[in-house]
Symmetry: C2
Subunit: 281 residues, 2 copies
Amino acid sequence: MAAPVPIGAGELDRDTAVERRSPGLYEADLPTGWSAANGALHGGYLLALLGRTLGEQLPHPHPFTITAHYLTVSRPGPALIRAETVRTGRSLSTGTASLIQRDGDGNEVERVRVLASYGDLDELPDDVRTAAKPPETPPIEQCPGPEDAPDDGLVPPMPLHQRLRLRLDPATLGWAVGQPSGKGEARGWFALADGRDPDPLALLVAVDALPPTTFEMGFTGWVPTVELTAHVRALPAPGPLRVSVVTRNLAGGFLEEDAEVWDTADRLVAQARQLARVRLG
Amino acid sequence: MAAPVPIGAGELDRDTAVERRSPGLYEADLPTGWSAANGALHGGYLLALLGRTLGEQLPHPHPFTITAHYLTVSRPGPALIRAETVRTGRSLSTGTASLIQRDGDGNEVERVRVLASYGDLDELPDDVRTAAKPPETPPIEQCPGPEDAPDDGLVPPMPLHQRLRLRLDPATLGWAVGQPSGKGEARGWFALADGRDPDPLALLVAVDALPPTTFEMGFTGWVPTVELTAHVRALPAPGPLRVSVVTRNLAGGFLEEDAEVWDTADRLVAQARQLARVRLG
């Protein structure tokens, strides 16, 4: 077995690297490797990109709470990031960042706007009082991945799947065989494909990595995220993460997706909620 | 019985009024009526204030998803609001707003930063597919209010309680009689004291109006909000709202509070999550 890729030296680290041009202005070249079937870059990857930039902009290293509004579709290629420090405190600092690309006419178009507060997870006390329980997920070897999907167009191959090792709970995969359960849920295992262990950046990818819960509710269309807020609650232990996503309320063409991420030490390391749109009927 | 106060003519409407000085610049004089025992203005009121300002700034009327980061303590008195339109789309528009006050030396200090996407709830289709159920809340007349609390300092009188009609489920009031249940929950009824019916602005107050869930977990200290995100999912029907707040994970001195708001038509009209701090031990 190959030596594990250390945090900082993996594909995610390489592909979220930004170059500081001047105070608050960063440049990046967004790779195709994190795009989905339609060529759009993955929302969790974009969150990690902007989350990393804010980690360089702010005096604290870790996103405690980060909100992204997805404005227009981000594509591979050159991008600018404008970051602003809103407030610096002793234990928390707050900042905002914008991802910008140019359209065909060379005009700047904002893709994503982020607002976040950062702290240092290493400095938190160890106290945990939780009523939350890890999701009951079958062993990873009993969970199929996207590469096991039939070649029927339901799960089109996408570059993103080369970057992630997703293994999905068969109980939430009815949609893949034409039998959606009707329950708005998705569960599975998440790891980075190169074996790099999880950190807060990886958690920002994980909270948006599973298939949309609407698939099990019988909808097949794209489910674009309007807004996603992630709370990183602890540094994850090494090893694959378990992710559980639940939708309770689909109404008026919008739904929430509530994600939990658990580490191998059975600790709830991230919570996230997104508001997404779905084309009804 | 007095005629009901119409939406637009209530205390909340009066107290969230802002005056536009120039494009994107608004002035307000924040009243003492929405402050808590320590003199700090209530987080839900501040969310409604900034939410209303963004409703004037943006072409769409209703906050679909709004995130506030609470930076410093807001006090009654003069305030500036700087608002910026981030993007205007056909069905959604996105904006940001900052609440600013001056400190003792006359320097501007930012209190709250908000990022939100707005739409028009009237234009959404009626489809509802929900697995969510309203909280089991006893009839309103069986739920005590803050004015029924013993005069022992646990629930100090605060101006805010004159603006709201809160009625709390006795099952989540163990803390008030020295017997916290240990469960991180708070439930109750919420209405504006002047009888004005709820609208999206009132929902922004309601999502942060109940006592902190930490009281039932045995902590008595203040629980300042770091960040709160609210999703307004439907226009509420007239009448009092039911609010349910649950905390599952308290760790490292931080906790999430998940709030749901239900209207008299048993519709889930708002969901919110906040990240808050609590002093442990």
